[in-house]
Amino acid sequence: MKSTISIYIISIGLLMLSCDDRNTATLAPEYLYDAGNQKVIKSIINNKKGTIAMLYGNDLALESASDSLPEPNIGAHFTLITWKQKPMPQWYGTKMNGEIYSIEHLKVVQRNETRFAFEYDFQTGKGDQPGEDRPDKEQRIAFITSQHAAVFP
């Protein structure tokens, strides 16, 4: 009899715990990206691709984007993180970043007589589906280096 009662109490306790679990959100630290010491340049939404992105850069990159110099600084290092969009769970009417789709690094290495030399690297994240088109490198370099920094107070 006593054991039946204890089983009852334990199972009720477990039931309450499991109810509690359902009422607490599951945090997803895997959606975070650590850009190290790089600073925020801006965010970019793309509804055609269903993505949302953050452009970061080192001081030279931020300066290039802020002053909108006609040419990027040698030594500028940009990082563009692109996530798949997902609906915000608590608010119908907001899209937010979900799984990381891609990580792009762009370094302005040096300048030849006629043109800049860039190092460009494209890595895929968990949100990437195999078989999806890879972006054209030259287009991406042009896109990233043409971005102006968002205005901050």
Partner: protein, 310 residues
């Protein structure tokens, strides 16, 4: 001879009746003030609002006989008073246009999450439920509101020298004592969003305590956690589908201190508008407006919307 127990029960019964009658006399009358500016929405939307929301959120409450009996009448009176203070469809123009839109999106969210109409209201008024198809009608409607498609076409304004002078002289402080601080520019990003109502895009920063808590999946968030959300308008979409930030709109702060901010669920709220960072709100009550929505819609997230969750 009478049994003493019976006298006790009779006495108790008389007491109950007296209390019950007394409650009826002191029961608050539920009054309908005049309708001054009723909300104007398409007929199919109006019909849903009238049936499911108007009993509390308007000056046209249709109170049933059982709502007037105490102690229920006290609860009904309280609910109506609270509901009208949040928003009142009969005095709709009291809200600025932007707030009207935000309220409509908030309603859709409260209904979608099953928070509204209140469960106790639905129990007493079975017709008060909003069906899936009706919710779809409301969603379709809010997506037609101007803020949903707002594009920031103005020339992007950066810091002007006069603004720089002002902000160098003094730090803006919110009415609840929270100062604006630039620390967040060295924090990590915890989320990036595209908000439909009002047409804005946001970057959300978290301090070390906040980021570590997310990494350790620690909920509720510890005291000392800080969040700053920076908001911009959206420029027109380019041919490739890219939407870039337009003008800076505001910066919103949330600071966790479970004791200091116990009346707003442990979070201190502040908002600084425009490049001159004017603290938002006319009175300290502004923080309750923030807390009300966070409390209603994001309790399972420790009242924070913009965090990465599964």
């Amino acid at each position: 001879m009478k049994k003493p127990g019976l006298t006790f029960y009779r006495g108790a019964a008389i007491m109950v009746v007296v209390i019950f009658l007394g409650l009826q006399i002191s029961s608050p009358p539920i009054e309908n003030p005049p309708v001054t500016s009723e909300i104007a929405v398409p007929a199919e939307v109006k019909q849903i609002l009238e049936r499911a929301c108007y009993d509390c959120h308007s000056n046209e409450a249709k109170v049933e006989w059982f709502d007037k009996i105490a102690p229920a009448s006290f609860l009904v009176g309280h609910d109506i008073e609270e509901a009208r203070s949040r928003f009142n469809f009969s005095e709709w123009d009291k809200n600025p246009a932007g707030v009207q839109e935000l309220l409509l999106w908030q309603m859709v969210n409260a209904i979608e999450q099953g928070k509204m109409p209140l469960k106790r209201y639905q129990l007493a008024h079975p017709g008060g439920k909003v069906s899936e198809s009706e919710l779809a009608v409301l969603k379709k409607y809010v997506n037609t509101l101007p803020g949903r498609h707002k594009v920031d076409t103005a020339l992007i304004v950066a810091q002007t020298s006069s603004i720089e002078k002002v902000s160098a002289q003094k730090t803006p402080v919110s009415l609840n004592g929270i100062p604006y601080s630039e620390d967040y520019k060295n924090w990590k990003i915890i989320s990036v969003t595209d908000k439909f109502d009002g047409g804005s895009m946001r970057i959300v920063y978290g301090n070390d305590i906040m980021v570590k808590a997310i990494e350790k999946r620690e909920l509720p968030f510890p005291d000392g956690a800080r969040i700053v959300k920076v908001v911009w308008g959206k420029q027109a979409e380019d041919k490739d589908g890219n939407v870039l930030p337009g003008n800076f709109q505001n910066a919103q702060f949330m600071i966790k201190d479970s004791k200091k901010y116990s009346t707003t669920e442990g979070w201190g709220f502040a908002k600084f508008d425009g490049l001159d960072l004017k603290p938002a709100g006319k009175t300290i009550l502004f923080e309750q407006t923030c807390a009300n929505c966070h409390r209603l819609l994001a309790p399972e997230n420790d009242f924070v919307f913009n965090i990465p969750t599964k």
